[in-house]
């Protein structure tokens, strides 16, 4: 008896052994990766020292000396680059969160419309979704911005809504609140109402689980969160003063303004993402076996409760993972703000600050780091929600 002895070469023998081979492959891969990184890092060090630059983040505390037209926190041209960065970050988060909210609402609406038994609504939703999905989002942003700036009137001829709200090509002017000292009582009631609603929902669920008795949870919660604080607000004599905008010369004074760049970006991102969410919602609902609906109907549950208690909870499991990536896309697409001059994180620290200080490396590191952090936060939040909605299997 002889075993095949064709591989006498020890190197070849080692290669044919799975364990040894995986070690060899990994050593080679690690060497290549290390070589690559040391190559580019070395290049960067050499190149930077050649032009006398270093990597230094202290420029963040220098004067930014440029203006940002939309700032939710105190900011002026004498503030630091760091503060400009925070303002930009807040603007990014603002448009991302507002976009996610609107896109979700519109998306669910579109998904339901796509499944409607009404031929006309179904086709309208179909045409809308196909148009939105197949045209780049940057084009939507530019188109909407162009439409807003070119078709809305100048401040003089603003659309006037009861002398308090004005719409013109400088944006949407509206009154800004000035909180009086008594207002904290109202906010206290709102917080209390939220706490009560949280407790009450759980309590009602427990009661329903044990006795089958159902409270009108939604009504009571709305009363606690909205109606009671509202009543308190009026009892205290309306402790908010409204600063109403008024036309002075060529522009509006007072109040606050939602700028056209924000409106264009917000609407474009939401309308675009809503089309994708609509398709996701439709796919999620279609994925639920029709037997589920039929079984629920056979039990005599009303149609709206079938939807609420049987179809949607199951559909959400299918919907949430792709929905997460749509949220991530929306947050990342908000960086296209740059194209229309909305001052987000890319336009502030990655744009003007970068050009002023010439610190490309540091600025881009910051911008990328922030986006990575935002992506991480959104995906871990949605993962948490997904785990909660997941079917509990034995």
């Amino acid at each position: 008896m002889s075993t095949p002895t064709s591989n006498t070469n020890p190197l070849l023998r080692a290669w044919y052994d799975k364990e040894t081979r995986s070690v060899i492959v990994q050593i080679i891969a690690a060497a290549l990766i290390l070589a690559f990184f040391s190559f580019i890092i070395n290049n960067a060090v050499v190149n930077l020292s050649n032009i006398g630059k270093d990597i230094n983040f202290s420029f963040l505390w220098d004067n930014a000396s440029y203006d940002i037209n939309q700032h939710l926190i105190e900011y002026s041209s004498t503030s630091s680059h760091f503060r400009a960065m925070i303002v930009g970050l807040i603007n990014t988060l603002l448009v991302a969160v507002a976009g996610i909210v609107l896109a979700t609402i519109l998306g669910f609406l579109l998904g339901v419309m796509r499944l409607s038994s009404n031929w006309l609504t179904q086709k309208i939703a179909y045409v809308y979704i196909e148009y939105m999905r197949n045209v780049p989002v940057l084009l939507h942003i530019l188109l909407l911005h162009g439409l807003i700036v070119s078709s809305l009137p100048r401040p003089k001829g603003s659309y006037n809504f009861g002398d308090t709200f004005f719409l013109n090509n400088r944006g949407f002017q509206m009154p800004s609140p000035e909180f009086q000292s008594l207002f904290w009582i109202v906010s206290g009631f709102v917080v209390g109402g939220l706490a009560f609603a949280w407790w009450f929902s759980r309590h009602a669920q427990k009661v329903q689980d044990t006795t089958g008795k159902a409270y009108p949870v939604a009504l009571i919660n709305i009363a606690a969160i909205v109606l009671l604080p509202l009543a308190v607000y009026f009892i205290l004599g309306s402790p908010i003063e409204w600063d109403v905008p008024a036309l002075k010369g060529f522009n509006f004074k007072g109040g606050m303004v939602i700028r056209p760049e924000f409106i264009a970006l917000w609407l474009a991102l939401s309308l675009y993402t809503a089309a994708f969410i609509g398709e996701i919602v439709r796919a999620g609902i279609v994925a639920i076996d029709h037997g589920q609906t039929e079984a629920a109907q056979a039990l005599g549950i009303s149609n709206s409760r079938v939807l609420k208690l049987v179809v949607i909870p199951q559909a959400l499991r299918v919907i949430i993972p792709p929905l997460t990536s749509q949220y991530l896309n929306l947050a990342k697409n908000s960086s296209l703000a740059l194209a229309i001059g909305y001052m987000d994180i890319v336009a502030t620290i990655g744009g003007i600050s970068l050009n002023q200080t010439g610190r490309e490396m540091e600025c881009m590191l910051i911008v990328m780091g922030i986006y990575l952090a935002i992506s991480l936060i959104i995906s871990s939040g949605m993962n948490w929600y997904n785990n909660r909605m997941q079917l509990v299997e034995r």
């Binding site: 290049n43 038994s117 009404n118 006309l120 999905r133 890319v346 986006y371």
Partner: protein
């Protein structure tokens, strides 16, 4: 009156009842089946009535089709005259006029190569596929020149041809790269696995425009001193890397959907890793991931518009420049709608092709 008699089962089918056929029935069933449905229909019709006639009037009836400046256009209608004036710019960018035949030829060959890849009933497909394999080099040679052709700098690329260049390059290179990354991520060699995970998650976590910024302003820092690199080349590399990370995740979904038994069966037949992947795993995984792959292609194609933020002029960039042109001031809506039509046609076409492919490859998995 004769009474006809039929043997059992030979009576011709009677026409359906009157109230279940025709327009009225269709309307009643699809638009007015219930009270809510009727209200929804009426509201939809009213909204369409508000939007459509004025839009059609503006876009077609009151529109001006011929003219040389904005002043030739009717004030109440769309000013489509610029399209004729600017058409060549939108298609060729700043490519020298006397060399445009090369772009045309490259596009024609692209259609031939594309047909070979996409359509399996094409005559002599074997040879056509060989041609498709070498097409990227022929196309690059025709567009940039050299080797006997007058060379054209890539800074002159623009318009539709730039979009096609970026789109086709990205599509051709991101698929194989994405497959490698997906396999790497599934690998049980930890170093390779974590490198792939790190790469994919980093790319997916940052917006494309930050990567394009890096490509346009900072890449020279990471190259040996004194090296320069064509801007378009850098953009192509970045777009390809970006799309390949998304591609990898789509393909990973397909790989994970396969039962483990497939790989085990392949191994028990004595296939090595490469053979198992090539003959057993990838054909099935790629088939499942077709919709996702095409979606990534469409995304890549649409994302190619982002190059305008670093100063390349694709159709959208040319549109944006035209909006600022003093001869054609205030035309943003017309310009952008024109560009939108172009993107819509190409992306919708790709989506339709993916549906066709899905149906064709759907062999025996239909429920």
């Amino acid at each position: 009156m004769t009474k006809e008699t039929y043997a059992p089962g030979t009576h011709p089918s009677l026409p359906p009842p009157k109230n279940t056929v025709g327009v009225i029935y269709w309307l009643r069933e699809n638009l007015f089946s219930s009270a809510t449905n009727s209200i929804v229909t009426l509201v939809s019709i009213y909204l369409l009535y508000l939007a459509l006639p004025s839009a059609i009037n503006w876009l077609f009836i009151d529109a001006t089709y011929v003219g040389t400046t904005r002043k030739d256009c009717a004030p109440d209608g769309a000013c489509l005259a610029f399209i004729g004036e600017r058409f060549n710019l939108f298609v060729y960018g700043f490519y020298p006029a006397e060399l445009r035949w090369r772009v045309n030829l490259a596009t024609l060959l692209l259609v031939v190569a594309g047909a070979a890849v996409l359509w399996d009933k094409i005559p002599a497909r074997k040879h056509m596929l060989k041609f498709a394999m070498v097409y990227p080099f022929i196309g690059a040679w025709l567009l940039t020149g050299g080797f006997g052709l007058e060379s054209v700098g890539t800074h002159l690329f623009g318009g539709l041809m730039l979009t096609l260049t970026i789109g086709v390059t990205g599509i051709v290179f991101s698929l194989p790269l994405g497959i490698l990354l997906a396999l790497g991520r599934q690998s049980n060699l930890p170093i390779i696995k974590y490198f792939c995970i790190g790469f994919i998650e980093f790319i997916r976590g940052v917006p494309l425009i930050t990567l394009l910024f890096v490509a346009s302003t900072m890449l020279s820092y990471f190259l040996p001193p004194g090296t320069t690199f064509d801007l378009l080349m850098r953009v192509l590399i970045m777009v390809t890397l970006f799309a390949s990370a998304y591609m990898a995740e789509v393909i990973r979904g397909g790989l994970q959907a396969l039962p483990k038994g497939q790989l085990e069966a392949a191994e028990s037949l004595g296939l090595n890793y490469g053979q198992a992947m090539r003959f057993i795993i990838l054909p099935q995984a790629l088939k499942i991931s077709i919709p996702g792959i095409v979606n990534t292609f469409i995304g890549l194609y649409k994302d190619s518009t982002l190059v305008i933020v670093i100063g390349l002029l694709d159709p959208l960039g040319i549109g944006r420049a035209s909006v600022a042109d003093s001869d054609w001031l205030g035309l943003s809506t017309e310009v952008y709608l024109f560009v939108a039509v172009f993107f819509f046609i190409s992306c919708f076409g790709m989506a339709r092709y993916s549906l066709y492919l899905e149906n064709k490859l759907n062999t025996g998995h239909k429920r």
